[in-house]
Amino acid sequence: MADLLRAAAAIALKDLAVEWRTKTALVSSLAFAVLVLAVLFFARDPTAVGAVDVAPGALWVTFTFAAMIGLNRAFLMERDNRALDGILLAPIPRTALFLGKVAANLVFVAAVEVVSVPLFVLFYDVPLWRRLPELTLVIGTATFAFVVVGTLLSSMVVRTRFSELMLPLLLLPFLVPPVVGAVQVTARVLAGRPLSEALGWLRLLLAFDIVFFVLSTILFTATLDE
């Protein structure tokens, strides 16, 4: 167990090191968030739609985009010089690789989310602060959901010849439920309605998290050899 976690940590840290090498990840994801928020704001007919109405959509498009990028990155990095072979040859449980990747991806997506939420408040001035706990809950669960699934799938296909072809295809059916759920909840929360209204969606999200985390962790080991 300790070994497992140690190896996972090593991999996660390496991933983050690779990202930070350019020391630009955060800046760009920050600016990126602003831009998405702004573009979405203008991509609306002002006479018809108020800013607050597009807010949840803007938030989640940003997050999904960031996540997509993060996921591609995570395993492409391993493919460059077939570094993945090096990891597979190492005497570590393959679960460690999975956990490491999930951790790194979570950090990556979280970074984007953390920077974009305040901007979001600034630009749309929606009453976020009062509902912050609820929002954190939603964002957390949803993000976890698609990072876990995404990591599994991207690892599953990274070795096969059609990897890039399959990844998004597979990703799609798994991503839509959590994202849609999250969007629904966010919309309700921002509309100032009680969380209880969105309880159904929340349950879905949580169930999704648990089921797929367990499932992925088990399935992962089966995915890697060609």
Binding site: A17, A83, D85, G86, A90
Partner: protein, 225 residues
């Protein structure tokens, strides 16, 4: 040389890519202190065989049994371009549970110490190859698989690598090397395997045979087999 234990046993290994059969019922054992040189024309299946032996590729038929730690130098460096050589070795060191001192030692040995803090992306081909070899040596493996290990190395580095490897051999480690540079490697090898069209035509002791002899044998096998 102590012929004690086989570190690896491969039984009737075959591998297909789509409809092309790349490996054909290959059976071999590798013993401690043994160094097998695999030679064969381009496309014979050397790389594929090594990857199967390493466990990176699942054989379509047959079984491979590894009794000990395996490490590999492949066509690809397995290094992260944006990280420095030192960072790469540290990382793999952590995975293999060896101390940072080991990494330093290897950087020294392979003459990378001076440049160890540069991104591997900025390395020349030969330097990258040396870094890749250092990576593979980290765990001091029981079985070391090398795919054209001398690629891009200058004479000096060739010498260094050969010395390191023969030292490994004398310490009872086993090796399988795929290469076209027979002459350079003869001093090292204890057996030669002739591969063609995915078949292991012969696996013969190299004891006292010279390069020319081996190459002659190789040609004769090619025309016959």
């Amino acid at each position: 040389m102590p012929r004690a234990e086989p570190v690896l046993v491969a039984q009737g290994v075959s591998r297909r890519y789509g409809h092309r059969r790349v490996l054909h019922d290959v059976t071999l054992e590798i013993f401690q202190g043994q160094v097998i040189l695999l030679i064969g024309p381009n496309g014979a299946g050397k790389t594929t065989l090594l990857r199967v032996l390493a466990g990176l590729l699942r054989p379509s038929a047959g079984r491979v049994e590894r009794r000990g730690s395996v490490s590999m130098v492949a066509h690809h460096s397995m290094l992260y371009d944006v990280l420095t050589a030192r960072e790469n070795l540290r990382f793999y060191g952590r995975l293999h549970r060896v101390g940072a001192s080991r990494a330093e030692e290897l950087l020294q040995q392979l003459g990378l110490a001076a440049r160890a803090d540069e991104r591997v992306a900025a390395y020349s081909r030969g330097m990258t190859q040396r870094a890749a070899i250092a990576r593979a040596l980290l765990p001091d493996p029981d079985l070391l698989l090398l795919d054209e290990p001398l690629t891009g190395l200058d004479d000096a580095s060739c010498r260094v690598v050969l010395d390191v490897l023969s030292d490994l051999r004398d310490r009872g480690r086993a090796m399988a090397i795929a290469s076209h540079q027979v002459a350079e490697l003869m001093e090292l090898v204890t057996a030669v395997g002739f591969l063609k069209d995915g078949r292991l035509l012969a696996l013969e002791p190299a004891a006292g045979r010279g390069t020319d002899e081996v190459l002659a044998r190789y040609r004769s096998l090619l025309v016959r087999g």
